[in-house]
């Protein structure tokens, strides 16, 4: 651990030695003893591919691969259970793609499994929907749910004689037109095709339903098959339907997650971050679109080293106005008589409530009548009632100040992250300048860009480290954490300062280049130390929080 008095050069030496000690873990090039400092350190600025115990492995999938995954499962179930592909799909969706559970249930009781999933067994007698009932029938009180449909289904076999009337739009179809213009599923509930189309389009378009669209008949749980929907609805709606099915598949699968970045259509597959593990790992993954995301909670950037749950708490705390009431508590007092909220913005301690005209002392909160003429001094400060009131206020003020301390630092880094693009631009200009005036080659000025990368990465980590610190209990471990945090903060500041320097002559360029390269390597090192220690801390259960995780 380093104390405030030591200088940065010393840190650097210290860390550089560490780096050689850990040679086994680093890339080979680190352990070889190159005489030139620059060459030996530059690889450290690149992504080190080694695996840490808190890292997860993942794959980036395309939508087509997701479709293939489903089809593979469907084909498997189709051959094992000997059912049509569309039935296999409906069964799998009902059992949330858990094919083992599906097979177990199916072999236990095929009819039951099929029925549960919304596929009536082939042998079940079909009921025909017939025109609206001619006479009312009394219903029993118990059948509120399934009852209403019973009067309609009461009679059957009318279809063979006379025209068919669609029970929904009441249009009539004669015998020849029935097959062409009406449709019924295996359950036998027949309706005209126009009604089916309207119904299915409405379900898909306005309600966003996909896997669980049931028969139009009330109380009939029969699921409408994919090919039926494709045949009955317009092309664009059918496309939307399939998109919804894929979305549901991804949402149902704990190992899949959509990349949350706008216009990115990739899906991340990761099996090492189930929700029960999220109290000890922070599964940051990178998508092919070039952005990071958290597989655990879907946060659209890395929020390492903070756990998903803490991030959620923090965001809520920052977003809701619970802090407003904290401010009120810290900066205002209540009239002891009518409880109006008062903010004192000047004047003496003799308060007269505007609302109820009660006169009291702002310092001790006691009635003014006992004060005499001591308008700026209260000599009754130690009265019990006054002490309690002041204690409460001090506590609340301390808690607000604590929150603001962390929030301001967090927000500061958040703000600098927003200026990233500008930072890059400025640096690029400088790199050009160096190439022109300093006779450096393109490759030789890349160190500046690498340094900016290191700063930005470190700032993101620092930002989240303040959220982490806000929720940490005060203990020795937290002290260590804050030491690491402070070292990184200082290193980043130094590097930022160096990057802002003007390049005047060739002499200073080579010196500056050396300094920036060294400092960037140091920032990277401090960053890795903070990250590594914090993430390992979860696995070792070293961190204690003020909230439940």
């Amino acid at each position: 651990m380093s104390s405030d008095g030591e200088n940065d050069d010393f840190f650097f030496e210290d860390e550089y030695d560490d780096a050689s000690d850990q040679g086994e873990m680093m890339e080979d090039i680190d352990s070889t003893s190159e005489p030139d400092v620059y060459d030996a350190l530059s690889p450290a600025l690149e992504e080190a591919p080694q695996r840490k115990p808190y890292d997860v492995t993942w794959k980036v999938k395309t939508l087509q691969e997701i479709i293939d995954m489903q089809n593979k499962e469907i084909t498997k179930i189709q051959s094992v259970l000997e059912v049509p592909a569309s039935s296999a799909a409906i069964l799998l969706r009902h059992y949330v793609w858990n094919s083992e559970k599906l097979q177990e249930q199916f072999w236990n009781d095929p009819a039951f499994a099929l029925n549960e999933a919304g596929l009536s067994p082939p042998s079940s007698p079909s009921t025909r929907t017939i025109p609206l009932p001619q006479s009312p029938s009394r219903r029993s009180n118990r059948s509120i749910r399934s009852g209403p449909s019973s009067p309609i289904r009461r009679t059957r076999s009318v279809v063979t004689s006379g025209p068919f009337e669609c029970p929904i739009c009441c249009m009539e179809f004669d015998q020849q037109a029935i097959n062409k213009h009406t449709y019924s599923m295996g359950c036998g509930h027949r309706f005209c095709r126009d009604c089916w189309t309207e119904y299915l389009s409405g379900k898909i378009k306005s309600e966003g339903e996909s896997a669980k669209i049931q028969c139009m008949e009330s109380g009939c749980g029969r699921i409408v098959r994919e090919e039926v929907i494709d045949e009955l609805v317009e092309k664009d709606i059918s496309k939307r339907y399939h998109n919804l099915l894929n979305a549901a598949f991804v949402a149902d699968s704990p190992n899949l997650r959509w990349c949350p970045h706008p216009n990115c259509e990739f899906i991340i597959e990761c099996s090492q971050a189930p929700s029960r593990m999220l109290n000890q790992i922070v599964p940051t993954v990178g998508c092919k679109c070039g952005h990071d995301l958290c597989f655990g909670c879907g946060y659209a950037a890395s929020h390492r080293p903070v756990l998903c749950k803490i991030v959620k708490l923090w965001e809520k705390k920052c977003a809701d106005d619970s802090e407003t009431s904290n401010w009120l508590q810290a900066n205002t007092k209540e009239c002891t008589k009518c409880q109006s909220t008062i903010e004192k913005n000047g004047g003496c301690n003799h308060m007269t409530c505007k609302k109820c005209k009660w006169e009291f002392c702002w310092v001790c909160m006691g009635p003014w009548t006992e004060h005499g003429t001591a308008w700026y001094q209260c000599n009754r400060f130690d009265e019990k009632s006054g002490i309690d009131a002041r204690d409460n206020q001090a506590k609340s003020r301390a808690s607000l100040e604590r929150y603001l301390h962390y929030f301001n630092r967090w927000a500061n880094h958040e703000l600098s992250a927003k200026l990233d693009a500008e930072f890059y631009q400025k640096t690029e200009k400088k790199m050009e300048q160096m190439q022109n005036s300093g006779n450096l080659s393109w490759i030789e000025v890349q160190f500046a860009k690498q340094a900016v990368d290191a700063v930005i990465k470190a700032r993101t980590t620092l930002k989240w480290s303040y959220c982490m610190a806000f929720y940490l209990k005060r203990n020795n471990m937290t002290e260590l954490f804050e030491d690491n945090q402070r070292d990184l903060e200082r290193a980043v500041e130094n590097l930022g300062y160096l990057l802002e320097q003007n390049i005047s002559d060739t002499e200073s360029i080579s010196k500056l280049r050396q300094d920036i390269t060294n400092q960037a390597a140091y920032v990277q090192k401090r960053h890795d130390i903070l990250m590594d220690d914090t993430l390992k801390g979860y696995l070792e259960r070293r961190w204690e929080f003020t909230v439940d995780i």
């Binding site: 219903r139 009604c195 409405g202 139009m216 009330s218």
Partner: protein
């Protein structure tokens, strides 16, 4: 003037007027044929027995793909009906099917009067009363029926 009304609504209206279920009446208003005046008699051996409850029923543009909107106009003490007369009934929401009709909806509402369900409440205070002191709640419902549903 009913030229714009779908055949389905015309047929339903016709049948409702000609042959309404026992204890239920429904008739469209003169100025809007999608807007019905409804009365439902309280079911026998329920606290609402002897009462006649007024409701309004409206068929939205999307009917029958979307459910009708129904509301009690008469004050009623019931755990699934709130003080604005809104009704908590599954078939009026997610369990709606276009194969259901005005008739079946009104029959279901009548059945709901005979079988209150305090476990799925809309009016929380009434449901609480129903759970804690069923006899007292039933007595209250009877009292309200006498007072308002005539």
């Amino acid at each position: 003037m009913s030229g714009g009304l779908p055949k389905r609504i015309l047929k339903e209206t016709e049948r409702l007027m000609a042959d309404s279920p026992p204890g239920i009446s429904a008739a469209p208003k003169d100025d809007n044929l999608r807007h019905f005046d409804v009365t439902v008699a309280g079911p026998e051996s329920s606290p609402y027995e002897g009462g006649v409850f007024k409701l309004e029923l409206f068929l939205p543009e999307e009917y029958p793909m979307n459910p009708p909107k129904v509301r009690f106009l008469t004050k009623i003490y019931h755990p699934n009906i709130d003080k604005l007369g809104r009704i908590c009934l599954d078939i009026l929401k997610d369990k709606w099917s276009p194969a259901l009709q005005i008739r079946t909806v009104l029959l279901s509402i009548q059945a709901l009067l005979g079988a209150p369900n305090p476990d799925d409440p809309l009016a929380n205070d009434v449901a609480q009363h129903w759970k804690e002191d069923q006899n007292g709640a039933i007595e209250q419902a009877r009292e309200w029926t006498r007072q308002y549903a005539n």
